[in-house]
């Protein structure tokens, strides 16, 4: 499986053609993304917030699911690389008129788009588009179903590296709805690839995959026990619809058992950082003191998101340029 996904995302020289999943990428590639992102962090602070790396390229944002943070940071990232950006609100237009995904894709390709940034409710959509797109068109997975959200995972890795320096020796706990979370799947793959000491997931059994251990994690059902001595705590967003379908009884009980408070946070390592992919449900995943507290790096995650997305966009466009020359 990993072998095949490598082939789809990488060219023969191992350069990035698409960014679909962390699965199958080597540590060197992830480090290259982080290093490249490091170089872009300065751009946002300059008076002219642009570099000309992707001038003349067209990036189309194809969001079949609504998103604020991911879409805007992808848009900003592309614009700072001097690309032209098309924002297509697909859920409201094409599919409601019965157009298939493939039709939508073909129509946009006729406009000579160089890259698609795709979010869709179905797992495997980014792979599907990458398999059917014209050669030379890059695909960025901005979240597909429960499968993967690799740029979110990489901006989380970037945030961790900024605060912790290195991954070796780190203990990381991911708390909440692992089962339905594409973010968690990508984070677990990235953390293990980058060589952390331990990844823990903390959740009730109803929010865990059937065979969670096969993902390469230690499973905890008790928050106090699970966050003991960890260096990084990643809280996942709890979707309101989980109260239906008998997954959880109430937000109240969830917060009582799995909500992060100052008191509980004290059990983690004294230098621990708290992360969240957003948007936060205050009083459900964590209380406000933690969200706004000194250990929270949640807002930094958002701004690092731009640099990380600039990094992967420029790497993919860079491979395209090399292919054209080659």
């Amino acid at each position: 499986m990993s072998q095949a996904s490598q082939n789809l995302q990488l060219d023969k020289q191992g350069r990035l053609l698409h960014f679909l999943t962390i699965d199958g990428l080597q540590r060197e590639m992830l480090t290259e993304i982080l290093d490249t992102a490091e170089g872009f962090t300065g751009v946002s602070e300059r008076t002219v917030k642009k570099v000309p790396l992707c001038r003349g390229k067209i990036v189309a944002n194809l969001f079949f699911e609504t998103s604020t943070r991911t879409r805007t940071t992808f848009e900003l990232a592309a614009k700072r690389l001097s690309a032209d950006v098309l924002n297509l609100n697909i859920s409201a237009s094409a599919t409601s008129k019965g157009e298939t995904l493939l039709d939508t894709l073909r129509n946009l390709e006729a406009m000579h788009v160089d890259m698609f940034v795709v979010r869709h409710a179905s797992s495997g959509t980014a792979h599907f588009i990458a398999q059917h797109a014209d050669p030379g068109v890059g695909v960025m997975n901005a979240g597909d179903g429960r499968h993967a959200h690799p740029t979110q995972a990489m901006l989380d890795m970037f945030t961790i590296r900024r605060h912790k320096g290195d991954f070796v020796g780190l203990r990381v706990a991911i708390v909440g709805d692992i089962l339905h979370s594409r973010v968690a799947r990508s984070q677990i793959l990235a953390l293990n690839t980058l060589g952390v000491t331990e990844v823990r997931v903390i959740a009730p059994q109803t929010l865990l995959p059937a065979d969670a251990r096969s993902l390469g994690v230690h499973v905890y059902h008790d928050l106090d026990e699970g966050i003991r001595d960890v260096d990084v705590i990643i809280m996942l967003r709890l979707q309101k619809e989980r109260m239906r379908g008998a997954l959880l009884p109430s937000e109240h009980e969830y917060f009582r058992l799995f909500g992060l408070t100052e008191e509980r946070l004290a059990k983690a390592d004294s230098g621990a950082i708290v992360m969240h992919p957003g948007p936060i449900n205050r009083g459900v995943e964590m209380d406000s003191q933690v969200a706004d507290g000194s250990k929270s790096v949640i807002l930094q995650q958002v701004s690092y998101g731009i640099a990380v997305r600039m990094a992967v966009i420029s790497m993919v466009i860079g491979s395209q340029n090399l292919q054209l020359q080659g």
Partner: protein, 429 residues
């Protein structure tokens, strides 16, 4: 030389129902087997030389969706029965989930007529267990039987209400109709699209647990014990369900089962890069399920292998995995893959042929599936040495959705006879 007479000479006759596996001639008159061995005095018919070939009863497929009426853009009775004939299949049970649904004698009659007109295959329309497959009211089973339905099923719509389950079993049994069930607890299946396990975990695909099947099997086994009605489970996908079935058979319960041929080869691992051709229902399970199903086939707990043929137009499979329609166009791989089981040593040849002929025939109570004296001359003649590569785009079925594209296979049908009439020939003889 009279019409409707034929001798098949020098072939290796494999007729598991009669315990025959030997090189011997057979002679056909008026659509039936007239003699095996020496021709009767004065019998002078055209002959077909089957030297080096296997002569078997025509195959009986317990589940193939032909899409007509209602989804002719996917396939038609004419296109699919022609594909079936080319694959040695002479009898097909087609499920009731057509549009309109087979819950009236008119629809059943229409399907039978179309098949008769096409002339390739015997079609056995399956009646709906409940009106409109809605799981509420009984269908008019006696009328369906009169129109030629010998089995009833609720297709892909599992009955949620246990009382309706019980009553449909009892009502069907009243008329000697066999109830066929795709065992699934729809709540546990929870709109999943892949086996709940490592691969679905990794790919983030909504999972269908083993228990979705075993809970339904357990439920029906209890109802069989309660009512004494005969039940046949279709397309089992789990080792556990096969074991439960074996235990019930040991207890002399009237229960049988089949398995779709792809479940004996593919597993969840074959989903790989979200390959929509591996999206099937029930889902591809684990390697131990596949091995358990192979064991159940070998031991005769599961006595039939079906194609679970589901042809699709290209668009139905061109979407992200969970949004594609499940199913494989399977008629043309049923026999070669079953022979592959033999080549892999999973089962002996005679038992393998039995699972495609007398096994399903006995489940349905049909006289076909055997070639004794007087039996209908539905015959399949196979070249066991032909090695070929499946090219999906050259399949005769209108649906070319198969994960077996490019597989190297050994064994291919040369001739198919329906009631003594040659309905397919690969080679001119």
């Amino acid at each position: 030389m009279k019409k409707k007479q034929l001798s098949i000479l020098n072939g290796r006759l494999i007729d598991p129902a009669n315990g025959i596996d030997q090189v011997i001639d057979i002679h056909i008159d008026k659509g039936r087997i007239l003699a095996v061995g020496k021709a009767p005095e004065g019998f002078d018919a055209p002959s077909l030389n089957a030297r080096g070939q296997l002569v078997c009863p025509g195959l009986i497929d317990l589940c193939a969706h032909l899409r007509e009426p209602g989804a002719e853009h996917k396939a038609t009775i004419a296109s699919e029965t022609a594909a079936a004939a080319s694959a040695g299949i002479t009898t097909i049970v087609c499920p009731p989930n057509t549009a309109p649904i087979i819950d009236t004698p008119a629809v059943a009659g229409q399907i039978k007529n179309k098949a008769k007109k096409a002339g390739f295959c015997r079609l056995l329309p399956q009646g709906a267990r409940t009106r409109g497959l809605e799981g509420q009211q009984l269908s008019e089973m006696a009328s369906l039987k009169a129109a030629g339905c010998i089995t009833v099923s609720n297709g892909y719509n599992p009955l949620a209400n246990s009382l309706v389950q019980r009553r449909t079993l009892e009502y069907a049994a009243t008329f000697g109709l066999l109830t066929m069930i795709r065992p699934e607890d729809r709540y546990l299946a929870n709109q999943g699209c892949a086996h709940e396990g490592r691969v679905a975990d990794r790919l983030g695909l909504p999972g269908i647990p083993h228990a979705a099947e075993t809970v339904a099997v357990a439920n029906y086994l209890a109802l069989v014990e309660q009512t004494g009605a005969r039940v046949h489970f279709q397309t089992l996908s789990t080792d556990r369900a096969a074991r439960m079935l074996g235990r019930a058979q040991y207890d002399k319960q009237p229960v049988t089962a089949d398995v779709a041929i792809h479940q004996l080869f593919l597993t969840e691992l074959d989903i790989e890069e979200f390959d929509s051709n591996t999206h099937v229902h029930p889902p591809l399970r684990t390697t131990s399920d596949r091995d358990g199903l192979r064991r159940a086939i070998r031991e005769g707990i599961i006595t039939a292998i079906c194609s679970d043929h589901q042809p699709h137009e290209a668009d139905a499979k061109a979407a992200p995995f969970p949004d594609t329609e499940p199913g494989i166009s399977g008629l043309e791989t049923l026999l070669p893959l079953t022979l592959k089981l033999v080549q892999e040593g999973a089962i002996d040849l005679s038992s393998a042929i039995a699972r495609l002929t007398c096994g399903p025939a006995d489940i349905l109570g049909l006289p076909q599936g055997r070639l004794g004296l007087g039996a209908p001359a539905d015959i399949c003649i196979i070249d066991p040495d032909a090695i070929w590569t499946l090219n999906a785009s050259q399949m005769l079925s209108q649906g070319i959705n198969t994960p077996f594209d490019g597989w190297e296979l050994q064994g291919r049908v040369n001739h198919t006879l329906l009631q003594g009439r040659i309905v397919y020939s690969r080679v001119k003889s």
